[in-house]
Symmetry: C2
Subunit: 133 residues, 2 copies
């Protein structure tokens, strides 16, 4: 089952038909998953060149330096890729107030799925989104 993509040391990121690759951001300190976004080739290049995470915003159809408005930038510690090279894992040190989510929370994953609905597991707002955006 091993394929070339699995065992190669050549970086061949597999962008999808829209030219995008999924990028997960985790906290380099404790591995907490902070957010998920997408990169096109230019966002990836800028991320590698500057050491600060850049993405492609699908809703705005534009390049997006994470934290440009909020100050909540992500300093890249390392970038990993998975076996079939269609996902990137960005290990980062969150800057600013450490709120990677646009809601002001540390992580975008602040709700647990239960049988009856969603349960909020993090209500701490590190910034007030009404004041920032």
């Amino acid at each position: 089952m091993a394929s070339d993509l699995d065992e190669t040391d050549r970086f061949q990121p597999r962008f999808d038909s829209s030219g995008l690759i999924t990028a997960i951001v985790s906290d380099a300190q404790d591995n907490t998953v902070l957010m998920v976004a997408h990169m096109n080739a230019e966002a990836l290049r800028l991320t590698q060149d500057t050491g600060v995470a850049h993405f492609w915003s699908r809703s705005r159809s534009s390049l997006w330096k994470k934290g440009e408005t909020s100050g909540e930038t992500l300093k890249v510690v390392e970038i990993l890729t998975d076996c079939d090279q269609d996902v990137l894992l960005i290990k980062a040190e969150p800057q600013g107030k450490g709120a990677s989510c646009h809601t002001g929370r540390r992580s975008c994953f602040y709700r647990r799925v239960e049988a009856g609905g969603l349960v909020f597991i993090d209500e701490t707002r590190l910034f007030d989104p009404k004041l920032v955006y």
Copy 2:
């Protein structure tokens, strides 16, 4: 900027145009990101009902109980969703030998992206894929 999806306690998973949602699996013990796959509504329902991770295989176009062949199943501890509900984060306890990757490694993210190419950061095979698949 807050939208209904951000602050609701109603679970409204946003499946894409192919009926799929991205599912990240992390180790419930230490948050290490283990793999990324996709779920359709049935895979999500089975995951919730059985407590064992199920996915939709895009390459095989079929429902897939992770570990059915290898024994490397994932016992679900909790499921989180993100602010816009288009990603699931499955916190799991890996069973079997604890190899979530089909290459026999613990995590699919075993290579670091560097300027010159990919550097292997985990060469430990917990099983031999040639003997399993």
